[in-house]
């Protein structure tokens, strides 16, 4: 039996439909249930539902053999897991944003973000010294209320930025969801995991063809 860590929220339904396209017989209650652990015995799978940021942690510690996580989380957390497949779902990107005509504070430039690692690496690479302020959500609020002039956050449609009167200043990196594997499971359960990778690869290619047509 393989344990699969699934991210709750934005990616969840897309990940689920990809699994269904890969031919997995997944019961509907997975999507609507409030249970955090659901077994699908006929597929020899167990699903656990976790916060997207925590999926990599469950997989790194091996309590989940495999998982689905955004590249943003992988970059931020730098966990020791195999990044096996680009599932090409939930495309978005990480960007620097701020109010129009943002003026960087000359003495104490501040950046608010849910991704302190990515943000600090990005600004270090630019040779810019900034203070990173970690927030857990509603990052767009920071420039509006004067906590920070700029933010680093995920942008998918750009609607949240727009509605809060913010503009994108710089694109950092493109993000899609990835299929990740625990290093020990990769060795100990190689057959089951290879099988899953093959089925997912097939589904990704099929989905790619549909998009092109």
């Amino acid at each position: 039996m393989l344990t699969v860590a699934m991210p709750k929220g934005r990616i969840f339904s897309e990940a689920l439909s990809l699994l269904k396209q890969a031919g997995y017989d997944i019961p509907d209650d997975l999507e609507h249930s409030r249970k955090l652990m659901i077994d699908v015995p006929n597929e020899k799978l167990r699903f656990i539902l976790a916060k997207p940021m925590d999926v990599v942690t469950y997989v790194e510690h091996g309590v989940a053999d495999v998982g689905i996580a955004g590249k943003d989380v992988l970059l931020e957390e730098e966990r020791d897991v195999y990044e096996m497949l680009d599932l090409r779902i939930s495309p978005c990107y990480l960007a620097v944003a701020g109010l129009p005509n943002t003026r960087v504070h000359p003495i104490a430039p501040r950046v608010a973000t849910k991704y302190p690692n990515i943000a600090s690496t990005h600004f270090r690479e630019q040779g810019e010294q900034v203070e990173i302020i970690k927030l857990n959500g509603s990052v767009e609020l920071a420039p509006l209320i004067g906590l920070a002039e700029r933010i680093v956050d995920i942008v998918s449609t750009g609607r949240t930025l727009k509605e809060n009167g913010l503009v994108e200043l710089e694109r950092i990196v493109d993000v899609t969801s990835r299929f990740i594997v625990n290093p020990v499971s990769y060795r100990m359960q190689d057959r089951a995991i290879e099988h899953m990778v093959d089925r997912l690869t097939y589904a990704i290619e099929k989905a790619g063809e549909c998009n092109e047509n």
Binding site: E60, H61, D80, E83, D86, R178, P183, V184, S185, R187
Partner: protein, 392 residues
Amino acid sequence: MRVFMFEKPLGMRDTLPDVYKTKRALREAMMAEIETWGYSFIETPTLEYDETVGAASAILDQQLFKLLDREGHTLVLRPDMTAPIARLAASKLYKEGCPLRLAYAANVFRAQQREGGRPAEFEQVGVEYIGDGTMYADAEVISLMIFALKRAGLQDFTVTIGHIGYVDALFFDILRHEQRVETLRRFLYEKNYVGYREHVKSLPLSSIDRDRLLRLLTLRGGEAVVAEAKALATTEAEQQAVDELQQLWAHINQYGVTDMVKLDMSLVSHMSYYTGVLFEVYAKNIGFLLGNGGRYDKLLAKFHRPSPATGFSVRLDRLMEAIGEQRNDEKTTCIIFSQERFAEAYVKAAEMRRKGEKVVLQHIAGIQNMDQFTASFDDVVYVLGKHGKDER
């Protein structure tokens, strides 16, 4: 007054009695197996010079604990045992052309970047086999690790073997530039197969070369991988690596442990340390690497005694986690005595101790909570009162 008794530096752990017993049993089982293969155990200092051992170690600089001695030299708490043993072998023990087999069970120190609970000090059991460049040496080290783990009681585990010479030769043949080779090698080291594939596709390569690089990721499995890798090889260096793996497999087969072993041609355990065959061992029940090893033919040259060498190390803390608590059948008896009969109680205890039994000798006045105290022993003998009989 504030009590700091419970505070320990980040990542440092106490080992309590039950865990200690388990740990000792596993260590002794592994050591016993290693000794029967003729390896000699040694100890080296906990502190070494940063300039020599620190610099030669495979562990990243940011993971080293550093301090200054009185003269201002930078010291490190040893982050592994391989570099100290290489230093020792190069300076004293190793005689040119005479293979040297050394072993250790020792604590090593690595500062942890994240999650304070991860151990920064842990024990490793391992061997170093210096001065023999043949595949028999690699096969011996891998097989010995398997035998030692089995003797410690580990059942469900697997060893993955790769060859860094193959990866490097393949990459260099196609990319022709050390910098580009390193970029690609890093993707494998970081286990980022998505990044590897994307990078390969972005390079201006012929479709044949692109295919060779992509097929490297699929070269995993049993003995058949050797033939697949051979088919992919075009240069002499790749060919040599494949030949070495073929010999290795045959030798391991002699030891009868091929059922524990798999090949993975894309295995990259370290960015620059290993020079040939390398391997990792994984066990069920723990999500992390249990141990690893490989050939490091360039290390002894750093101590001005170039010589081939190979070895393995297993983390004892993770082995404990994989096996679980060992049942301990040994009994401990407590003899509780009163002043008048101390001599009699001592004679009794001494006699039992001579037979190898574990005995606590306890004066009754020293016990405040009789029920709780006696509950921790398998057997309690009372030697009390002037002429009273022994009670149980």
